[in-house]
Amino acid sequence: MTFGKEKGADVIELEQVGYSYSGAELFGDVSLQLAPGSFHFLTGPSGAGKTTFLRLLYGALRPTTGRVRVFDTDLAGLDRDGLALMRRRIGVVHQDCQFLDHLPLADNLALPLTVSGRDVTAEAANLKELINWVGLTHRADARPPELSGGERQRAALARAIIMSPDVIIADEPTGNVDWDMSQRLLQLLVELNRMGKTVVMASHDLALIRAAKTQVQTRVLRISNRRLQTAGADL
């Protein structure tokens, strides 16, 4: 199943990708191109493989069949160090966003800078601005376990974009927050998309997807019956 190629050089390209778990096919024959600056929703029933699909996009999993190319590089050809360097260009937000619980929030958000060897002190102004952008200035010194669900999601988003990645992959970022917070997170992702970032967001919240479609041009992908399909206009 192939989806039409979008304009510009693709940031992520899947070629007849399939993934099986313990011999059972989760999905197969997926071909897809994601252009720079595009916004994609990934939806589907629970257990359809949305998280697995997203993990394939940033090399956390290897496909059983087919090829995944990110920034024109076949992930199969990358070793662990190569994958690590590639991930610095992809911001990932999980539903159960994990942090280093012993570090203050500000240090957690600076973690991508730390691991890439950049001078955190020199980036202090940017970090402060980012914390302010996600509305967590008053929580900068708090430890992650002290944060609410919505604060954790916003913090995870801030951490994902601090390196100014080309792609943002968000796995059900609004899964554990109320509607207002979902709207706020969506607004942040839309702003990032308007800055030229490619966004792929898994969500089963159709109301949220409809709300997004009023603000930004999106494509909705649906995993169903082990196949990736484009969702219809009925959304």
Binding site: R80, D81, A84, L85, R87, R88, V92, H94, Q98, F99, L100, D101, H102, L103, D107, A110, L111, P112, T114, V115, S116, V120, R159, M163
Partner: protein, 299 residues
Amino acid sequence: MSGKDVKALILGDAQADRVVPPTGFTARLTLFASGAMAFLAVFALALSMASGRLATRWADELARSATVRISAPADQMAAQTEVALRLLRQTPGVASVRAFTDAEQAALLLPWFGPDLPLDDLPVPRLIEVIETAEGFDAAGLRLRLQAEVPGAVLDDHTRWRRPLVVAADRLRLLGWISIALIGGAMAAMITLAANAALAANRQVIEVLRLVGARDAYIARAFVRRFTIRGLFGATVGMGCGVLGILFLPQVSDEGGFLTGLGFTGLGWLWPLVIPLLAAVVAFFATGFAAHRTLRSLA
């Protein structure tokens, strides 16, 4: 590990050092294991060095002296002794020779026969002490000459009983080194276990670090550096205690023999300083091995 990684490991990185949370149990285990092992290593080192000194002393002292024993009828004893002395003085490699006096021989036999030994009435052989030069003499050649010119003379160069003593001391020294190697191995095993426990307990930390683009070398370094420092610190304390223990041992004395000679002499006191460094090296490699194995399995 690249040169940059090694430099970062030695110099440290305040930010990177903080990514791994302090883990009480593994920290205490590493400190205790390295401290205890360093303490034992000091004694093993002292044993090895003391037995080494003993072997050298026995080898040197006994190798430089020999004895010629002359068993002859009483009327020929003085003549054969004179011939033997002359022959020995002419032998290359002999520094000095001296026949024991009757009083000296009586003193030698005193422990066995008591103070009133009538030496004149007993066929006691005459003993000649031979001191060798540094080059030594040809024992086989000397034996042949003595056999030809002094029929009652027997050369004893102490080889027969000196060799097992030297071998025993050498074995003791080897035992000391084997102990040090075993101590190092045991320490490596314990630190590996502690590192594995720390890595398992910090699985979430590793996942987060990978998610934000940390290379394996960075993650491994954070653990390796912490365990290396713990190993170094624990071993330094253990070594200090061990050296204090050695200092409080009784001083060297003839009466105490080998036991009171257990310790270090002169520059030998510097050797224990090597132990913490070796412990750090062991901790470095043990943790590095554990970290890379765990990171591979989590990939």
